[in-house]
């Protein structure tokens, strides 16, 4: 039977709070000496990365495994070596872990690589500025990092996709800070990263907008550590005073003098244990400082390394890997000596029950009202226990209590059972992920799955995901990629390779179908195959991909140009088509490019049209070539016309229109258009002449035929207007309207009169009246009424405000009905009376 949980408990704050240290794994010197290394640990029970610290002297032929220069070694928490790789680039400045357990290594030239646990990496850079100035330090957090350049400015990188670094506000430092830290964006109210710099005896907080001096006086600080929830800060002064303040520096929460601890040597680490205690480490001592400055001491056999966890602190020493954490409330209430909480009584009752003692029934009856919550506590406490033995006992107690309840939702119980099964599986030393229950709920099951696949533990990952009824996609995808990498064909003959491809492809597809991975992106797997140099396999896999946007980039890199373009067009995603077109335009000769599109026929027609849209705005020369090479006369002509309309210089405009005319004339079906363009050229030339004749005061160029005639009349060049009418065969009707409008506009009523009398108007005289009235020349309009059709005259007169004339007109025509109608509308009584009079005369 494992030790009772309380064995590792230690009291703090006068016995109100307990801390426990749980041994996770025994290491027995599997790891190198921490004293000689630079170490970075990953949260959530993740691995640790180590590199020899070249500033320290080490003894050769020591028993512990040591490093060759410039190697980084990664160990799991259980001390198993996961990865070893050497670094051939400039000096490493810092390395650290991302949220998804990838190792980020940054060198002094501002280049950083993101390694996964298989040793594959992506390389990104902090930009040219950083590489010129050099990077002197960096802080890496789960979803980004902040680097300090040689000129003491700060660069922030968000995410690990190689995003462009953002420059943070310049703190204007003259020397590097004594120490500094970063509060990740997701822990700040502003949702933007905040950097804390210890300068002289104060602290600067820097974000992307400003740098604020917090005006402290206790500094300088050797350590600054934000708590896991980002709400508090631990500061350690040179004199060894540990301060705990809120992140906004408004509240001081605790103060502790570390020099009171009787030990030798320097403080090595200041880490948080959960959110309410701080672990200060010396060479072989860890001191836990509680909120009220009371301390607990833990002794180890050698150098230690502490990793802050959200619910505790993980201590890795040469012998053991331990988790120190505050005892969770349900466990405290159950196991605390002398506890009388309902949960403790329930547990007690179950123990009595299993010993067949009648006390059980009595105890249960005592806590009847609180039984439900007692059951809940037992379930929760089970989750927080490390040993399966105690987990089982607590769950049994919960089950026992549940039997006394009429209505109890068993979901929590079942879930806890499942979860514990998963957790115990991954805590096994070969897996080496000492994940606690609260870390598991915080990071989500899918995160755990991805961590397992990253370690190539596909079977376990698959079993866990089916056990938790998660989709198997992620695992399958990773598995397939790994499979492709591992299954490199050994035979050299091409036949064998093809056979291998078929086999692997079939293996993958069958596995996917069998396990229901319907949504796995084949393109990504195909991409891995392509990267591994297995073109045949990639093509085969790609056929299974349904999403064009994923197929296309790979097809392009595989030089399957036509197929890529067809797939892109088929997807209907114009952006994808552009992507392909632009890529092809860059990589093919113009001739081949055009041929590819033209040969595509109807299938690629949308691509051809998109190319035209793009080229019309961006690359007209290419468009011209395109039309020309395809003998598209009409399009060429329209393009020339469009260019003409953008030109301001008359000569070049005319020549553009002329070239349009030429294109049209080359197409026998476009005779009409060619003729029209011919007219257009004639008109433009004529307009140039007119402008010179008018002495440059009047602008004609670019007007339509109508406008040209109108401008002529407006400027007294009536003869010219007549000539244009004749030259361009303008119909009489239109000409008459133009002249009418133009003459009215310049108020040349005499001219209008002569014009009206010049011959019988082809448009009648009604438009004269109406237009004049509309323009406010009612008086002038009257004269034309008489020439209109007699039935309309009366109305027209009234429009000219000539009511008497209208009356007279009606009288002459003997139109009594009209007169009566007018009588109803008449504007004043005088006219009304006159109308009445007329009416009376008409019988």
């Amino acid at each position: 039977m494992p030790d009772h949980p309380t064995v590792s408990w230690q009291a703090m704050q006068g016995g109100n709070v307990f801390y426990r240290h749980q041994q996770l794994f025994s290491l027995d010197g599997k790891l190198p000496n921490f004293g000689e290394c630079i170490v970075a640990g990953c949260r959530y029970g993740g691995p640790i990365a180590m590199m020899r610290d070249s500033t320290k002297i080490i003894a050769l032929n020591s028993a512990a495994p040591s490093f060759v220069k410039s190697q980084i070694q990664v160990f799991s928490s259980a001390g198993e070596g996961l990865l070893l790789f050497s670094w051939d680039q400039a000096k490493i400045i810092r390395f650290g872990w991302t949220y998804d357990e990838r190792l980020v290594v940054l060198n002094e030239e501002g280049t950083y690589r993101v390694y996964d646990l298989q040793g594959d990496y992506q390389q990104h850079s902090l930009g040219s500025e950083a590489s010129e100035l050099g990077v002197i330090d960096a802080r890496i957090h789960e979803n980004g990092m902040v680097a300090m350049t040689g000129s003491l400015t700060l660069l922030e990188v968000k995410g690990w996709d190689g995003g462009r670094p953002m420059v943070l506000a310049n703190p204007k430092l003259s020397e590097p800070p004594n120490s500094w830290a970063v509060i990740p964006p997701d822990l700040n109210i502003s949702r933007h990263v905040e950097v804390l710099l210890s300068v002289d005896n104060t602290v600067f907080t820097v974000d992307n907008l400003e740098s604020i001096d917090q005006r402290l006086s206790q500094g300088p600080f050797t350590h600054i550590r934000p708590s896991p929830n980002g709400k508090s800060l631990a500061l350690l002064t040179f004199s060894g005073t540990l301060l705990v303040v809120s992140t906004d520096f408004q509240r001081r929460m605790a103060e502790f003098d570390t020099s009171t601890v009787a030990t030798e040597g320097q403080i090595q680490q200041v880490e948080w244990c959960g959110n309410d205690a701080i672990a200060v480490t010396w060479e072989s001592l860890v001191v836990l400082v509680g909120p009220f400055a009371d301390i607990l001491q833990y002794f180890y056999t050698g150098n230690t390394f502490a990793i802050t966890e959200p619910d505790g602190v993980r201590i890795i020493s040469p012998d053991v890997c331990e988790l120190i954490q505050k005892v969770p409330a349900p466990n405290l209430s159950i196991f605390r000596p002398g506890s009388t909480s309902p949960a403790a009584i329930l547990y007690d009752a179950w123990e009595s029950f299993s010993q067949r003692s009648p006390k059980a029934d009595e105890s249960i009856r005592n806590i009847r009202p609180e039984l439900a919550s007692a059951v809940d506590s037992c379930i929760e406490a089970a989750g927080q226990e490390w040993e399966p033995y105690w987990q089982r006992r607590l769950l049994s107690a919960a089950k026992f209590g549940r039997g006394y309840l009429d209505f109890y939702n068993p979901t929590d119980f079942v879930n806890m059972g499942q979860t514990l099964k998963v957790l115990n599986a991954v805590r096994y030393y070969e897996i080496g992920i000492p994940l606690t229950y609260s870390q598991y709920t915080y990071t989500s099951p899918s995160h755990l799955i991805s961590r397992l696949t990253a370690r190539n533990m596909h079977l376990l990952a698959l079993r866990i995901s089916s056990f938790l009824s998660l989709k198997p996609d992620v695992v399958l995808k990773h598995w397939a990629s790994a499979k492709i990498l591992r299954s490199r064909p050994t035979a050299t003959s091409p036949d064998a390779e093809a056979g291998g491809d078929d086999e692997v492809c079939k293996l993958i597809v069958d596995k996917f179908k069998e396990l229901g991975g319907g949504d796995v992106s084949y393109a990504e797997i195909a991409k891995r195959a392509w990267e591994a140099g297995r073109v045949g396999l990639a093509t085969k896999l790609l056929d299974y991909e349904r999403r064009a946007s994923d197929q296309v980039p790979l097809l392009l890199s595989m030089k399957e140009d036509r197929l890529a373009l067809e797939k892109a067009v088929g997807s209907g995603d114009t952006d994808l088509v552009y992507q392909v077109l632009l890529h092809l335009h860059q990589h093919l000769t113009l001739g081949n490019f055009f041929r590819l599109i033209e040969d595509g026929g109807e299938k690629l027609a949308p691509a051809s049209r998109l190319l035209q849209v793009y080229a019309r705005e961006q690359n007209r020369d290419m468009l011209r070539d395109f039309y020309y090479s395809d003998d598209r006369r009409v399009e060429s002509a329209v393009l020339a016309l469009d260019e003409a309309s953008r030109m301001s210089d008359p000569a070049s405009r005319i020549s553009s229109v002329k070239s349009a005319q030429k294109f049209f004339s080359e197409d026998k079906d476009r005779g009409f258009e060619a003729k029209m363009m011919d007219e257009s050229v004639r008109l433009l030339t004529l307009q140039q002449q007119l402008e010179t004749e008018a002495g440059g005061n009047v602008s004609f160029f670019g007007q339509s035929v109508n406008e040209t005639m109108r401008t002529c009349i407006l400027n007294g060049m009536v003869k010219k207007a007549d000539k244009i009418k004749a030259d361009f065969k303008v119909p009489d009707k239109r000409f008459w309207y133009i002249k009418l409008y133009a003459l009215t506009e310049i108020r040349d009523f005499e001219g209008l009169d002569t014009f009206a009398k010049s011959k019988r108007s082809p448009i009648g005289y009604e438009p004269f009246v109406r237009h004049l009235v509309a323009k406010g020349h009612a008086k002038e309009a009257v004269a034309y009424v008489a020439r209109c059709d007699s039935p309309k005259r009366a109305d027209l007169y009234t429009e000219c405000d000539e009511w008497r004339m209208a009356g007279k007109e009606c009288k002459e025509r003997g139109d009594k009905r009209k007169l009566e109608e007018l009588r109803k509308k008449c504007p004043n009584s005088m006219i009304a009376r006159e109308f009445d009079q007329i009416l009376s005369t008409m019988k």
């Binding site: 930009g127 462009r164 953002m166 502003s190 949702r191 933007h192 974000d207 992307n208 907008l209 989709k471 996609d473 319907g518 949504d519 349904r546 999403r547 209907g572 995603d573 114009t574 952006d575 994808l576 552009y578 992507q579 632009l582 027609a605 949308p606 049209r609 998109l610 035209q612 849209v613 793009y614 705005e617 961006q618 009409v634 329209v638 016309l641 469009d642 309309s645 229109v657 079906d669 009409f672 258009e673 029209m676 363009m677 007219e679 257009s680 008109l683 339509s704 035929v705 109508n706 361009f728 303008v730 119909p731 009707k733 239109r734 008459w736 309207y737 133009i738 448009i763 438009p767 109406r770």
Partner: protein, 675 residues
């Protein structure tokens, strides 16, 4: 009928709530803005201002750190803040301007953080262009996914003005893809459309994208409704504009349509004289818009001093918008009288409780009064415009063409219109109408009239005429067609006279019938029923195509059988009964039934669903729709119990805006739309 029916709740369950779309759009805008820390300068694509005005307001932007706003226009940009946020559609001209700004700033060595928000999604074209310009490294690009915007309680729009031109003239199918995405988002909210019907080649393309895309956009983690059939929707009907080119060419005769034709409605806003919009006294109702952003070339604002934007949302407008303009006056009169009475009764209040009642109502009366004043004024503005000779002449030509009466005379009449200087758009509309209804204009006459157009309005219109005659549009064709015509054009010939009979497009409207009831959807064009809406009726109200349901109902009530009111809508059974008609029309016809993943459970759910729960039919117009079509669909929706329509469109169009966009003569950036 109409407004009484409209205001009365049709059934007990509320209509589909589309305002959630607005909330989503608003929230994602705020999120996008908040991703940039601190004060920022917003540089806005002028064509986006209107749509954005429908989802958010300036104060909200200010609240989220927007310090100043500028139009995205050529010329220098001076910004006082370090952060500059560009918000625009992915257009090449905008990218050039942005690149220019950045280069200029680098030269002046002023440091800025640039963020580019592309609407509605990222574009590799843009990043490529920025790369070519050498500024890609200086700018952060992300997307602002603006999709359907509710512009009325039953209309959602992508507010993409040039959709028609892009699809049918340029051949740029981006809009189709974006529409498919927007419809998928709609399905994500409300579930899969159980049935999808489509008419038209591009509509079919859209539907194919929509149906093949489904399994792909699904992500394993998010709870998705994409695997379940919708409870709210009964079907989606997609109609592309090419299927019915006739309708937009006609002059709209409903109140809202006429405002759009004659004054112009942009993004639900109409520009009116300030005196009409501002209430004479008191701040009781304040429909005034927040001030427009400062334009970097602010001359545009000064010019429009006396004009004011008015957002057409008041209750009175909702009552009036779908009426034929001829009956608007009567309705206004009635409302004025009622209002007068209400005021009078309020004066008679004597006791204290009565007075309290009156004071409570007073505010409402005043708002009503104000909107009455506004709409009376607006109608007064419209009346003289409908009295002009050109307006009436063009109406007459339209009616004659629809009735295929004396076609050659109509062409001559169009020529007369050119002679007397009618605007180009009207002429082109009539000409296309003539070509469509008669199957082409006599070659000789057509050449003549084309020449007239070019001479009268400028030779630069030649590309317009070519586009209209191009195979993709073919709305302006000679008759007979030249022998070299591609097969596609021959196939797309429009069988108007056949449709006119089989779909009962022309309603012989005796004046008294028109007076009494709007007895068919044809009221929107005073005697012509829009083909597009007839097609919808073919699916959703089959009886309405064949005979007039209103009349039948009237006879029923006369027989004493009435009282029950409206007929229960029949279930969606596809195009059944009208297959022949549809095959004669050019363009593909589709009828697809979608299945959810757990079809068994959903069919059970269908059975258990209460029969009287009303469902919504989504009608999507690819390439835009007119206000009259919306009005007609609302009318169809009112005829039956148990079916509502949600109208979705790429944008609101008129014939004039179509012609303008094809000709490229539309004045871009008409200034301060919306926000």
């Amino acid at each position: 009928m109409s407004s009484e029916d409209q205001t009365k709740p049709q059934e007990n369950d509320p209509p589909l709530d589309v305002s959630i779309l607005k909330e989503i759009a608003r929230k994602s805008l705020i999120d996008a803005l908040n991703s940039v820390n601190g004060a920022k300068t917003l540089v806005l694509d002028p064509t986006l201002a209107g749509p954005l005005g429908l989802v958010t307001e300036v104060s909200l932007l200010k609240h989220h750190g927007v310090d100043k706003m500028f139009w995205l226009e050529a010329g220098p940009l001076t910004s006082s803040t370090t952060n500059i946020v560009y918000l625009c559609r992915p257009m090449i001209k905008y990218v050039k301007i942005i690149a220019d700004h950045i280069k200029r700033h680098t030269k002046e060595s002023s440091k800025h953080n640039y963020t580019l928000l592309l609407v509605p999604r990222l574009s590799s074209l843009v990043s490529r262009l920025l790369e070519e310009e050498g500024v890609l490294g200086d700018i952060t690009i992300s997307a602002y996914n603006l999709q359907f915007i509710p512009i009325a309680e039953d209309v959602v729009s992508l507010e993409c003005e040039s959709a028609f031109k892009e699809i049918w003239v340029d051949g740029d199918e981006t809009v189709i893809y974006d529409s498919a995405q927007a419809l998928i988002s709609l399905q994500k909210l409300f579930g899969l459309f159980p049935r999808i019907l489509a008419k038209g080649d591009h509509a079919a393309r859209l539907v194919k994208l929509l149906t093949t895309y489904l399994p792909q956009t699904r992500t394993s983690s998010s709870p998705d409704t994409l695997s379940e059939l919708s409870d709210d929707f009964d079907s989606l009907i997609v109609i592309d504009r090419r299927v019915d080119m006739i309708t937009p060419l006609l002059t709209q005769l409903t109140y809202e349509g006429l405002i759009d034709e004659l004054i112009g409605i942009r993004n639900c806003h109409v520009e009116l004289p300030a005196s009409l919009v501002t209430p004479p006294s008191g701040p009781t109702s304040n429909p005034a818009q927040p001030p427009a952003p400062v334009s970097s070339t602010s001359a545009a604002n000064l010019r429009k001093e006396s004009k004011k934007k008015y957002h057409l949302t008041d209750q009175l407008f909702i009552d009036l918008r779908d009426l034929n303009f001829s009956s608007v006056g009567k309705r206004l009169n009635k409302i004025a009288r009622r209002l007068d009475e209400d005021y009078k009764t309020s004066l008679q209040a004597k006791t204290i409780p009565q007075l309290r009642d009156v004071v409570g109502k007073l505010g409402g009366l005043q708002t009503e009064h104000q909107s009455l004043r506004l709409h009376t004024g607006l109608s007064e503005m419209l009346i003289p415009m409908t009295r002009t000779e050109q307006f009436n002449k063009s109406l007459e030509i339209q009616q004659n063409l629809l009735a295929s009466y004396n076609v050659s005379d109509q062409v001559a009449a169009i020529e007369d219109l050119i002679a007397n200087g009618t605007d180009m758009q009207t002429v082109v509309r009539l000409l296309c109408l003539a070509s469509l209804t008669t199957g082409g204009i006599k070659t000789k006459a057509l050449e003549n009239i084309k020449r007239e157009i070019l001479q009268a309005y400028g030779y630069n219109l030649l590309p317009l005429l070519l586009s209209l005659a191009s195979p993709s549009l073919s709305v302006l064709l000679p008759n007979p067609l030249p022998p070299s015509t591609p097969q596609a054009v021959l196939a797309s010939k429009y069988p108007f006279s056949y449709l006119s009979k089989s779909l009962r497009l022309l309603i012989d409207d005796s004046p008294e019938a028109l007076e009494e009831v709007e007895n068919d959807i044809s009221f929107v064009y005073s005697g012509y029923a829009p083909i597009s809406v007839r097609l919808v009726q073919c699916v959703a109200q089959k009886g309405g195509v064949l005979s007039n349901p209103a009349e039948k109902e009237k006879s029923q009530t006369a027989n004493g059988a009435g009282g029950g009111g409206k007929v229960q809508a029949h279930p969606i059974v596809g195009w059944k009964g009208f297959e022949d008609v549809l095959t004669t029309m050019p363009g593909e016809t589709l009828d697809i039934t979608q299945h959810g993943t757990e079809s068994a459970t959903s069919s059970i759910r269908n059975l258990t669903r209460p029969r009287d729960k009303s469902t919504t039919t989504v009608v999507f117009f690819l390439g835009g729709c007119t206000y009259t079509e919306i009005a007609a669909l609302r009318w169809v929706g009112r005829q039956n119990r148990g079916r509502r329509f949600l109208i979705a469109t790429t944008g609101i169009i008129t014939g004039t805006s179509l012609v303008d966009s094809i000709a490229g003569t539309r004045k871009t950036a008409q200034g301060d739309a919306g926000i």
